[in-house]
């Protein structure tokens, strides 16, 4: 077997050293009735690299990849062009096949990259500090809610109607068991609705509220000023948690931290990581300095070595499960190190200039697409303000339209019926994301197909 270096001669020599007669003898502590006598029946035997590659390639061909079609899906996962050097660099064995940097003297590469990542995330989000990553945006969002509970010692979280429904779903799953109270609402397709939700959030904050959770841009693509909400939260002793699922937006719009958010979490996938059918992604987590000891996850910090040279280590581990066990701030251990590295490399390649240009290009493309699509008969643009994603209200249910577009080879957006199957009011909603990867021809193809399908 190509991954197993021991030869039978080696095995015999080693068994002799051990004083055992066979490998089976080493499993003596397993009760005999639980020991399998040979390979499990009904499963295939080993295969060559060529054979495995053939099998996997056949499966991959059964998918319509984003690059093969005009593509407009978003809602928490975005398709951006990732420079070739990003994937090359993260595949260097010293990054790919290293471990969580528990031995800092021989993990300075990972640690320095994480320190740079933390700084980039903190600056992008407008916060004092950021951690070394979480699993993804949805789990980071729940972790932020539990952190707000610890900071404020209150148990009610108010979730904005524009928070990604899967993030809401996850929070509901957890809250059912932890006893946290969640105040939730559904979005609507009425123009001006984001204002209604803002009024709901402002009015809902009371002395039991630990936090308000608001996504910006939100699930329908709306962007909003969070300043008033932040001020109201602070008046009432609650925290404002902002969620960013499209960090490229922060190359164009003001950061949540600038608008007063106390904790900012996000999905980092859209920078450096790729779509990957939903994972692995990278959760971003930032907050103000004063709350850092309540933060979950790994943190990398600066120190010096025995010679006085600057170096980096994992720090504040007394928050973490391997030290604090049941009193830890979170149970997270493995995070998303390699995806954080990809995020950081892509953001380093972009730099301030590149990120701003990329954001401008995304916004311009989205504005042009929204204007074009809003000319279709019976189609309404729901958004006032948006970044690279907007919602259309179609004259008919969007879900079958999306399916029909796929049959025509166009991945035309996410139907709100998929995300909110029980909300009849949202069934006609179609969320369209336009990034730098969508061309004007793609937009025109979508417009014409959509027009034909609506008329059908």
């Amino acid at each position: 077997m190509r991954y197993l270096p021991l030869t039978d001669t080696d095995r015999q020599a080693m068994l002799a050293t051990i004083g055992a007669s066979s490998i089976d003898d080493l499993f003596i502590d397993v009760p005999a009735e639980a020991r399998l006598p040979g390979p499990i029946a009904g499963l295939p035997a080993h295969a060559s690299e060529l054979a495995v590659e053939r099998h996997m390639t056949r499966l991959a061909r059964r998918n319509l990849s984003a690059g093969e079609a005009p593509f407009f899906l978003g809602c928490g996962a975005y398709r951006h062009h990732v420079p070739a050097s990003v994937d090359h660099l993260i595949q260097r064995g010293e990054f790919l096949t290293s471990y969580t940097p528990y031995q800092p003297e021989i993990a300075q590469g990972t640690l320095q990259a994480l320190f740079e990542f933390q700084t980039q995330v903190a600056r992008l989000f407008g916060c004092d500090v950021a951690n070394a990553s979480m699993y993804d945006g949805s789990t980071a969002c729940w972790e932020a809610i539990t952190m707000a509970r610890r900071v404020t010692k209150r148990g009610k979280a108010i979730l904005s109607a524009g928070l990604h429904p899967h993030y809401v779903s996850l929070a509901k799953t957890m809250a059912r068991f932890t006893g946290d109270l969640l105040d939730t609402a559904l979005p609507t397709l009425t123009p001006g609705a984001p204002g209604d939700d803002m009024a709901r959030l402002l009015a809902g904050i009371d002395a039991d509220t630990s936090c308000v959770v608001v996504q910006n841009p939100n699930i329908l693509g709306h962007v909003a000023d969070l300043s008033e909400l932040a001020a109201r939260c602070h008046d009432k002793g609650a925290l404002l948690i902002a969620v960013v699922t499209e960090p490229v937006a922060l190359g164009a719009i003001r950061s949540p931290g600038e608008m007063g958010a106390d904790i900012v979490v996000g999905e980092g996938q859209s920078i450096g990581v790729g779509l990957n059918f939903g994972g692995p992604y990278v959760g971003l987590f930032a907050c103000n300095e004063k709350h850092v000891r309540q933060m979950p996850g790994r943190l990398c910090g600066v120190t010096t070595d025995a010679d006085g040279q600057r170096g980096f280590v994992l720090t504040l581990s007394t928050r973490e499960q391997h030290i604090r066990r049941e009193k830890a701030t979170s149970n997270i251990c493995t995070n998303a190190g390699l995806c954080a590295l990809a995020f950081s490399i892509h953001l380093t390649l972009l730099g301030e200039t590149g990120l701003r240009n990329l954001a401008a290009l995304n916004h311009a493309g989205a504005v042009a697409a929204a204007e074009r699509l809003a000319t279709l008969p019976g189609v309404e643009l729901v958004n006032g303000a948006f970044f690279n994603e907007f919602t259309l209200k179609l004259p008919r249910e969007a879900r079958p339209v999306v399916r029909a577009l796929a049959d025509m080879g166009i991945l035309g957006g996410v139907s709100l019926g998929r995300l909110y199957p029980d909300a009849a009011d949202l069934a006609n909603g179609l969320v369209v994301a336009v990034t730098e990867t969508s061309t004007a021809e793609d937009v025109e193809a979508l417009a014409q197909a959509l027009e034909a399908e609506i008329a059908a």
């Binding site: 009760p31 499990i40 910090g301 581990s317």
Partner: protein, 523 residues
């Protein structure tokens, strides 16, 4: 000094690294220092050429970001050099043996990487119409079938993102099952030797936690456990093989006792590599167990993730599995069970625990690895992993104290204590000495039940010659620690950094770059 026949020096006297003359750059030949990206002065540079945005009116609602963000940029050659230099300051499996106990640092086959990057897997959106991603769902289903069959369990939840997330999944299923039965049990029992994630996870989903003691032979104390079981105990979390590198011989009896008392058994499957293809946890009465795809099934650890932690479930817990999951239909096509049809298709589900379908990129890698090995190869994986660990254990007989060594063979990892080291010498000194020998150290100070624990997991992807060299190095370092060689206290001398002051880092944490607060690098 040695010379060849021409009198030319072939082996110059070496100076200790610390005595070598300082260089102008701070570099030492291939050991290249690299500044932070924030320490360069040019924030205008970029390594990505982006088309100019056409002039359109802004629809940003007056929220334009005016203030500088503070993101430095590098051109591609600069970025490639920056990260390549950083990478060279890391130890990695690709460089040598990485015997971190409980972490299963085995070789990461490159075919896995190639397959995960096929556009049909890497470039598909999680919300793409289900008809357009049938191949992806087929991968999830095929991997799920393997995991269920290898473990002898009833079903598998694929969406957990890592081991600890899998623990959460298992405990939520246990809570949901108790809820459905109208029971409000509040206690989870955890052995003293458990991974820290076990008690942390139990607390994270609202349980109280109590420790169960171990016996003198390093296993769960069955009598103490049985005595503690009662109507408040929701379940127990057991690691098997356990963190002392031993198989819990009484596992089936533990399961039976827990079940008889109305509880469920969670198994931490971090150490599944030791038994894959040889023992099915389903035969031992387990109700839920996570499988770290990044351990047993060779997906790369990546400097701390991403992981992936599918959870296999017994028939009793399967009805509560999280959303979404993949269902195969009679015509061979696949369907996603999400919130929409959960009421009919999966009414007991405890809900969603991550935004999408789990770590697809890890599924393609793990399936690639599993197909490469096949049922026969996976059995050999466990056999060779256990053989290698026992070889290390016995090769250190008489030198290091193996508290459970006399009781027989270990499983996939060998455990030693710091007993017998010279006064003032610790496990840490041995670890740092191993760094100078060119090895990543073993897991230190874990499990907590052994003083100064050293937990060594060589994995099956090491050959005999590599093990012999490692054993030689460890013997040499351990002998120095037993003899009280003061020079060992200064190790590592040859790493990119010498011992780092972790206490100072925690006392005044500097977690992001701020010009005024950072110490300058020594000249």
């Amino acid at each position: 000094m040695s010379m060849n026949s021409e009198g030319r020096v072939t082996r110059p006297e070496t100076l200790a690294a610390a005595d070598a003359p300082a260089t102008f750059t701070g570099n030492r030949a291939l050991m290249l220092e690299e500044a932070l990206i924030f320490e360069r002065d040019d924030y205008a540079r970029t390594g990505v050429d982006i088309a100019e945005a056409p002039a359109t009116s802004s629809r940003l609602g007056g929220l334009e970001r005016h203030r500088a963000i503070g993101l430095p940029g590098l051109t591609e050659p600069e970025a490639v050099r920056h990260y390549t230099r950083l990478s060279r300051q890391n130890y990695a499996i690709d460089l040598g043996l990485f015997p971190l106990g409980s972490c299963t640092m085995k070789h990461n086959p490159r075919l896995n990487e190639k397959m995960a990057r096929l556009p049909g897997f890497a470039d598909i959106h999680p919300l793409a119409p289900v008809d357009t991603v049938q191949g992806a769902l087929a991968v999830i289903d095929e991997l799920a079938q393997w995991l269920v069959t290898l473990t002898g369990m009833h079903a598998v939840a694929m969406s957990p993102k890592a081991g600890a997330h899998g623990e959460l999944c298992g405990l939520l299923a246990i809570r949901a099952a108790h809820d459905a039965a109208g029971s409000d049990r509040s206690m989870i029992l955890v052995p003293e030797s458990a991974h820290g994630t076990n008690p942390a996870t139990a607390a994270f989903c609202g349980y109280k936690v109590e420790n169960i003691p171990a016996t003198a032979d390093g296993r769960v104390d069955l009598d103490a456990l049985t005595a503690r079981l009662g109507p408040d105990v929701a379940g127990v979390m057991i690691t098997n093989p356990n963190t002392c590198g031993l198989f819990e011989r009484d596992m089936k009896r533990i399961s039976d006792a827990v079940h008889a008392a109305g509880g469920y058994v969670y198994c931490d499957g971090a150490n599944f590599n030791a038994i894959v293809g040889r023992v099915r946890p389903g035969d031992l009465g387990i109700d839920a167990m996570h499988i770290n795809l990044h351990k047993t099934f060779s997906t790369p650890h990546g400097g701390g993730g991403p992981g992936s932690g599918p959870v296999v479930l017994s028939a009793a817990l399967a009805p509560y599995a999280p959303l979404p999951f993949v269902a195969k239909q009679p015509d061979g096509s696949f369907r996603l069970i999400e919130e929409e049809t959960a009421d009919q298709d999966h009414p007991g589900s405890f809900g969603r625990m991550s935004a999408f379908h789990g770590q697809m990129g890890m599924f393609t890698r793990a399936l690639t690895y599993i197909l490469s090995h096949g049922a026969d190869g996976l059995r050999q994986v466990a056999g060779d992993a256990v053989l290698n660990a026992n070889y290390v254990l016995r090769s250190l007989d008489g030198l290091l104290d193996a508290p459970f060594g006399p009781s027989g063979p270990c499983m996939h990892e060998a455990l030693f204590s710091d007993d017998g080291l010279a006064p003032g010498f610790t496990t840490l000194d041995i670890a740092k000495g191993l760094i100078d020998e060119g090895f990543h150290p073993m897991t230190m100070y874990f499990p907590l039940v052994v003083h100064g624990a050293m937990l060594i997991e060589p994995t099956e992807t090491e050959g005999k010659a590599a093990l012999d060299q490692f054993v030689g190095a460890l013997r040499s370092v351990a002998e120095r620690a037993k003899a009280g060689d003061e020079a060992l206290k200064a190790a590592p001398a040859f790493a990119p950094r010498r011992r780092l002051d972790e206490t100072a880092a925690a006392r005044k944490p500097v977690l992001v770059w701020k010009d005024e607060t950072l110490p300058q690098a020594a000249e």
